[in-house]
Symmetry: C2
Subunit: 309 residues, 2 copies
């Protein structure tokens, strides 16, 4: 437990399992928000979120009511919105709304906090924006501890495309996630738990909802290195990876971005998919082939990830 | 006006401009539908349409209350659903719902009829499905008559990818249309009206919301030919193109699919983007370069398209 969490969770407060979801809709003109019933319809059918997947989103983890990496998520939401040419609410509005929604949700061990902005109702003049909080306590325990099997799936794009073709919204976290969901279904229907996308020119990219991290040279204290795919190869900038790197460096590791190829995955001393909700999932197998695993490294990386505020 | 339309529109019925939109939600268990207020929220925030663009859709045109190409659209909806592994309502349910929605909408000159199915509320056990009708009379007049300027935009995928990578949902009409919308915005912010996607290996594909048709050899009555991009290059199967081809053949034209390259666009005697709502838009310029135009061909193609039932 971090000091922030222990300050928030008073000793006499118990964890209340099964907190119901909470939804706060933002009034984008007034900059205010109000709690509404997430079990009731809140979106019009003509909202461009629903009919075009035309919007951007972020998912954060809140531990015992404290959201993690809020500034990093708000920065990435703003970056996605710029790519999608969306005018989104100001940071202060998001802060207020997140605080309001989390207070209403109450203290559970872990909750997912989803921020979303759509282009609004078709033909209208303002975005639709909301914050949704749902209890996810225990949901990721198995993948975090036992690890995952992964398939490599062709993402179809070459690694230089994001820069050449901004209309493809590569690197923006949009509400058009049908392909990411189809990739996960494809992996699961083929006996795996998750996927790693590979570019058409053979560059390893990311998971459909996660960032890849590799450990290299771990037996040489002077060369222990964390590696993640280069941002300019067309991946989403990982907020967990970005938060872990300074902590790894402080612990004496090197940490950098690189152009990774499939063979690098099998040469690494360990490989993980990291994300804001699941935190870290050690990779056991890729396309059925067993990877190296070092439980001590899992523990070290997990320690850094839990320190993130 | 086709005979079907004149039979439906009695002589004493006037066009009522500004018919409000109509929405029919389908009860997928009962196979029934009910009209609801489209101005009110009808979707939960946790519906996968809204947060993942995870669903499929179709847009048809209804002229004076008569929907066009219903069977073709229902077949394509079913094909998209198969690719997305979605269990959608039966044809009879769609027919009932379309009829109910159009009857409630009343007779306007032209209306868009949108069918959509999402994977439903996250964690739930059934899809969400609806039919939305909105008056579009006059909306496309300028593009139909004056024509459009188009930009060529890289789609990023190579033309063989759809077959190799089913998880990319190439050829499925999904609710994840953020890239299609971004391509249209990119074209418009660069002084054009629309876009044509080109594969990473230089094959001409389709518009973000339309199918490309070219006329070739029109001065030789024995060789007049309509050409559209091959389906196996990763395009959506165009329902308007499919309906036009038999009519063109009946009029003595050849009509086929082909692997098209950019230079073919400039060598064609005419080029159009065709779609269910806009019908046909003659292309005036591509990337600023003027294309051949034949108003007599526009009239001939338009005649076929208006005959479609």
């Amino acid at each position: 437990m971090t000091s922030t969490e222990s300050a928030i969770l008073k000793p006499d407060e118990k964890h209340h399992p099964g907190h119901g979801p909470v939804l706060a809709m933002i009034d984008v003109l007034a900059g205010t928000n109000r709690l509404v019933d997430p079990g009731r319809p809140q979106l019009r059918i003509s909202d461009l979120a629903a009919i075009r997947g035309d919007g951007v989103f972020e998912t954060m983890l809140a531990r015992r009511g404290v959201p993690r990496k809020v500034e990093a998520h708000l920065s990435r939401l703003a970056a996605s919105a710029r790519m999608a040419e969306l005018d989104i609410p100001a940071r202060a509005v998001w802060h207020d709304t997140i605080t309001n929604a989390l207070r209403a949700h109450g203290l559970c061990e872990e909750a997912l906090v989803k921020l979303a902005v759509s282009r609004g109702v078709e033909g209208g003049d303002r975005v639709t924006a909301w914050v949704h909080v749902s209890d996810c306590t225990g949901h990721y325990d198995t993948q975090r501890t036992r690890g995952i099997d992964v398939l490599l799936l062709d993402r179809g794009y070459d690694s230089g495309l994001g820069i050449r073709a901004p209309w493809l919204l590569i690197g923006a976290k949009t509400l058009s996630y049908a392909v990411n969901m189809a990739a996960l279904r494809h992996a699961r229907s083929n006996g795996a738990d998750d996927a790693i996308f590979v570019s058409s020119d053979g560059i390893v990219l990311e998971g459909p909802t996660s960032t890849l991290l590799l450990a290299m040279h771990v037996d040489d204290p002077a060369r222990r290195t964390l590696v993640t795919p280069s941002l300019d190869s067309g991946v989403l900038a990982g907020t967990t990876q970005a938060a872990v790197y300074p902590l790894a460096r402080a612990a004496g590791w090197r940490a950098h971005h690189a152009e990774l190829h499939v063979e690098d995955l099998f040469e690494a001393d360990a490989a993980w998919l990291v994300s804001s909700g699941r935190l870290l999932a050690p990779i056991n197998r890729i396309d059925g082939r067993v990877l190296k695993r070092r439980p001590s490294l899992d523990a070290e990386l997990s320690g850094w990830i839990h320190q993130i505020e």
